[in-house]
Symmetry: none
Subunit: 463 residues, 2 copies
Amino acid sequence: MTALKKALAVADEQLDASLERLMALIRIPSISTDPTHAEDCRRAAQWLKDELDGLGFDASVRSTELHPMVVAHDRGAPKGVPHVLFYGHYDVQPVDPLEAWERPPFEPALVLQPDGETWITGRGASDDKGQLLTFVEACRAWKAANGALPLKVSMLFEGEEEIASPSLEPFLAKTRNELQADMVLVCDTDMWDRQTPAVTTVMRGLVGEEITITAADRDLHSGIFGNAARNPLQVLADLLASLRTPDGSIAIDGFYDDVAELPEAVRAQWARLPFDQSAFLGGVGLSQPAGEANRSVLEQVWARPSFEIHGIAGGFSGDGFKTVIPSSARAKVSLRLVDRQDPNKVRAAFRAHLHARLPQDCAIAFAEHGTSAATVLPHDGEMLRKTLEALSEEWETEAACAGTGGSIPILTAFKQQLGMDALLVGFARFDNRVHSPNEKYDLTSYHKGIRSWLRILDRLAAG
Amino acid sequence: MTALKKALAVADEQLDASLERLMALIRIPSISTDPTHAEDCRRAAQWLKDELDGLGFDASVRSTELHPMVVAHDRGAPKGVPHVLFYGHYDVQPVDPLEAWERPPFEPALVLQPDGETWITGRGASDDKGQLLTFVEACRAWKAANGALPLKVSMLFEGEEEIASPSLEPFLAKTRNELQADMVLVCDTDMWDRQTPAVTTVMRGLVGEEITITAADRDLHSGIFGNAARNPLQVLADLLASLRTPDGSIAIDGFYDDVAELPEAVRAQWARLPFDQSAFLGGVGLSQPAGEANRSVLEQVWARPSFEIHGIAGGFSGDGFKTVIPSSARAKVSLRLVDRQDPNKVRAAFRAHLHARLPQDCAIAFAEHGTSAATVLPHDGEMLRKTLEALSEEWETEAACAGTGGSIPILTAFKQQLGMDALLVGFARFDNRVHSPNEKYDLTSYHKGIRSWLRILDRLAAG
């Protein structure tokens, strides 16, 4: 019996105990954005440290300005094998609206579904407690079966991922030597579909901005001032309209300078993916991709930069009607970046675009809401190839290389501070309702996730 | 001593009591747009009825589908004199943002200003409780001094003026015979400046609209859908931007067809008015008229139609940031009309303009918020001449014929239902902050307003 087969057998036998540990972690309401849950964040960090200590790791809780980090290095690491740093986050999103939950968010349960699947319910079940424990439990099973891991493994868990990881970059800068490894492994992404595992290799970056336009020094009556007074809501509409051309592209000067066309091989692979564009849009009541003409939906959401308006506020928007010309108007917007677009350059070009179009008697102010570059994992790497093979074996179907339209800012931090690429392997499903009421993680995701990591560890160690 | 002099003396002596009554009326928070204040609207109507009963009027509160009307006819009306119908409204605008008020909006106070003026503070102090009581208190003083009024006087007060008077037209249709008079008198407008009284003879109409754009059937995450999903906020911005051309004109097909150029005589009169365009805009922190190029501010606000956005709502606009693509977005807008523009035709053209530009996967819905044509009072009428003389006498300076950019939809209703023109005489000041926090009415406006009506009543009765 190979070391891998032994480890897989242990993982299967110990699944109930693995589940107990996941439920214990879900029970800790580690909501990072809510100061009243700071102590719960610390408890979650301590829980992880204790588990990893018990597994033979040298684990510690490290304070930051907000929620602590957990760092762990395997004590029994062999020499001359690749070194991986596994990253996850123990913090979770808030749970409001609480009344929308069918079960209390911090009382996890196993709920059998009509289709035979079993859901593990609760806030964080998927994002990211269930996902991060697939890796920890894989290490546990391997060690139980074989004594020592086949790779050198370190782990890093943070408690601020849901609030944009303010402490991560300074922490990585301080621990650069300690955390240096060959590759970062992350488990915080989705499967391609229920059958098809995926490695996420293309991720868009993000420039978040809040714009405030001000004109008169007070609200005005449109009967008295209408026409003559500059209306910040009209200015805002004009500016926002100026950012997208009628063909769906973004009208900022130089915006596409650092956006290369997708390599033909990747485009071909995406075209082969089991993806029904009509079903993707139809599932939310739409029928036509709204972005650049002649680009597929997958290209639009993975490989093309976007501009989206997330919120507009200003004037009177309650019930009834008020003929006010407000003194100010606000919008929250974001630009999603791809390829080599520099977020700071994009932000400057965005602001310059608006400044250049600002009419007289107006002021414009900007506030930053997040900054990250896109990340792209080279498609010809050895570790990626091995990981895809391991996943294909476990799930008995060809694993996909996928993109994600959402930014994962921590990847930028790892790349910039440690010079490391990250391999994103996740077992979550599209319908897990992360960040929403009734979050769940499928038992299949958890069980086969643990088994997948065992196969990945085995392959990566094979050299 | 003439009847007029006696009445003026009584008005001066009784000013404090008149003020007490105004403050009592301001204390009733009769916000017509807010259903939770419906009972307060009824209380304000009842308060007026009781006061008018006490003055020897035959007064009654008349139910409508929403807020009641108050109708009153003087019991002691002489024969063979002109019959005037005074109109006012007891409802007020909402008070949000409440935190911007220096004093509670429904706890009126007298506040001495550094320049020696005294402000009567509170929501409705100016618009229209203070203004309407100038007429009621003038009748009180005349009756106290002389027993009977010199004219036949009826009054009509409504509680829906701030929400576009939905009940007024049907009510006038029903009471056509009862309310027929020679002229409508209205006190809901401004002085020309602090020294110069004015009769408002040119008024813009209004088409109020609420637009709702919907796209996907739920809120979407812009990481997953950004670019590919139609964003209702972007659609709304594009549509709103399409309504104004860069030169400040309105881009709706045929919009200016029924807008004639101002007669040269009127333009010349307006040019002679003591009006400092820079001070008008500078007083609210602006410097350049934002409407059509080469049109004076007075032309822009009195004689040119406008399009204004009053409120936009949609997506996430709280603190922080949420990369949502909302399923819907809303805007409240209005078109101000001049000259012979037909509001129904304008509304249809406005909607057609937006429908024609609506992208795929979107729906648009409209809700009406008011409809009125512009009104113009003939400049050569006898009652207008007498009123201007009376005002010039009280204020010791030549009274102005002015325009107003705000619509007074009730004028259309009086014209259409009763065939009556209206004479608009108001004592409010430009800086009264009507519809805004910290509304006030000057004690001078109130006192000399009462005195002005006494002189007008006297002149109109003189034949």
